[in-house]
């Protein structure tokens, strides 16, 4: 057999093995969390807040963390949305295609994307000290919002890039301003893609723990005020695994399953939804 053919098949085998490893690792992660978490999961966990001594193995649940994470996620997503939507519109409608400014903005967003969440957390902490604020839901919303801002803005930017220039041109030719073009023509075309970007960022926001460690603190009560600490699911998992009691750790696994399912549901919904909202799309 030809040596080149052997080389070809050896490398093809290596590549296939790699693909199996990568795909397998996702199945391995989900499988592990599912198997370990499933039998520790109970209805009590989902509908009760921690009672006294919950972290010592007593009664209660993690409703405080579930609601806290969702409220925090929604708040942070809204905060990021208010900043990223104008940013994406600005990049695509207000700046010319190859303008220096757009180039720099995209570069900065990419760099911000790569900064680890613990650094955002530490930065949020310095800002809190500067303004003499306590750890609170508000501080966490701002920190997580800034963390997911580059993700959301860049995804929206990529979506808006797909709009053909002829469409905007036609709208301008009718005498519409750039704002009117954006609001009434362009954004309607890409609504599905924008919703996907928002959902993916939401999933990232509720999953992150390092940035809320400093800024959200933790509490056993449900979120009720913007200026009070808030519990989050990732930290609840982390704290439960940190206890020396096996039964509390088991509940930590169950909480991890809840978080994994929540994030999977959001990101799968995000992917399915991009095909929806097509009522106004021109074909």
């Amino acid at each position: 057999m030809d040596l080149r053919k052997i080389e070809e098949s050896v490398f093809k085998f290596l590549m296939l093995t790699s693909v199996v490893c990568v795909v397998g690792s996702l199945l391995f992660i989900l499988g592990t969390v599912f198997i370990k978490g499933w039998h520790a999961l109970s209805l009590d966990m989902l509908v009760k807040t921690p009672q006294g001594g919950y972290y010592l193995g007593k009664e209660g649940g993690i409703l405080n963390a579930i609601t806290g994470s969702i409220v925090l996620g929604i708040g942070a997503t809204l905060f990021a949305l208010v900043l990223s939507l104008p940013l994406a519109v600005y990049l695509n409608l207000y700046l010319r295609k190859n303008s220096r400014r757009a180039f720099i903005m995209r570069f900065f967003l990419d760099v911000l994307w790569g900064i680890p969440s613990i650094v955002y957390g530490a930065f949020g902490f310095t800002v809190m000290i500067f303004f003499k604020l306590q750890a609170s839901l508000l501080a966490a919303i701002i920190t997580v919002g800034l963390l997911i801002l580059p993700i959301m803005a860049r995804s929206m930017d990529e979506v808006l890039k797909t709009i053909p220039f002829e469409l905007t041109e036609a709208s301008f030719a009718m005498g519409a301003t750039r704002l009117e073009t954006a609001m009434q023509v362009v954004l309607k075309q890409v609504l599905g893609g924008l919703v996907t970007a928002v959902l993916i960022s939401f999933g990232r926001g509720i999953g992150d723990a390092a940035s809320v460690l400093f800024t959200a603190s933790f509490t056993d009560s449900l979120p009720y005020s913007l200026f009070k600490p808030v519990a989050t699911l990732p930290l609840a998992i982390f704290f439960q695994l940190g206890t020396p009691f096996p039964e509390v750790q088991e509940r930590g696994y169950a909480a991890a399953l809840v978080l994994a399912i929540l994030i999977l549901a959001v990101s799968i919904a995000g992917r399915l939804i991009s095909g929806k909202f097509t009522r106004h799309v021109l074909r």
Binding site: R4, E7, E8, F11, K12, L14, M15, T17, S18, V19, C21, V22, V23, S25, F28, I29, T32, V33, K36, L83, P86, L87, Y90, Y94, M105, F107, F108, D110, V111, L112, G114, I115, P116, S117, I118, V119, A122, F123, F125, T126, I129, T177, R178, E180, G203, R204, G207, D208, A209, A210, L213, P234, I237, F238, L241, L259, A260, I263, L264, S267
Partner: protein, 307 residues
Amino acid sequence: MTARTFKEVCAHSLMRTVAGFVISLAFLMAFGLYLRARPILVTKPLEELLFHTVWNPSQGQFGLANFIISTIWVTAIALIIAVPLSVFTAIYLSEYAPAKIRNIARPVVDLLAGISPVVYGVWGILAIVPIVRDYLMPFFSEHLPFFPFASDNYTGFCTLTAGIVLAVMTFPIIISVTEEVVSRVPFELREASLALGATKWQTIKLTVLKKARPGIIAAIILGVSRAFGETMAVLMVAGCAIQGFPRSIFDPAYPLPALIANTYGEMMSVPLYDAAVLLAAFILLLVTMLCNIAGWGILLRTERRGM
């Protein structure tokens, strides 16, 4: 001015403000952290902070060397595992894979990117720690009892475990960037190579990878920054014991991000403690920023050259 143009002008200046804010965010972060780290930078020489290994905040000793070396260890192990797997996967997906496999693998990579770091940590504790503790560690300490393998830490919470978990966490960024770079190589180049009688793999090896090399290097740099800054998963599986830096892949590691996360509660108690921890955050910010500037810079350059 009509109401319409007024709205337009308002929107425009609003957008410019938002854009300016985002640009300044990177500088604000660097400046804010530097400001909080300054007290320790003016009282202690930089080489003592970076190269001394004694970390004892209550005695006023803040040597970060153990944490920095730990970070480098786990990052290196993660990349040794992740780079070949990710690059091979990316090449397969863009060059060989039938549409069916591609349609499975792409969402898998996206989902891996979306999973919470804490879930990775739970997976590490439940799956990787026992494997390392029960199989890898006994095997290596029996058959290969020398430099990177010799250790007396039998818990399974170690540098290697953290490296494995981090490797999976860096898959998505390396795969997606590499795949994009490889698929951007012009088709004519492949055609020319194939027409000269090269096999498909030879074409990839000698033409495609050569052309895509800067981009793949950029992908790896971005992977480095991802592994360098990852916090929660590492904190949960690396062992995090202060007993000198790891001398073996089975020793516990205590990387910088884990230090920051672990000390947030107590760092206001001792003078200069908070400054030392925020200095660690500042170092983290600088390193990841440089990696990202280098990585995205290379990618933008190759894109501009019309590769």
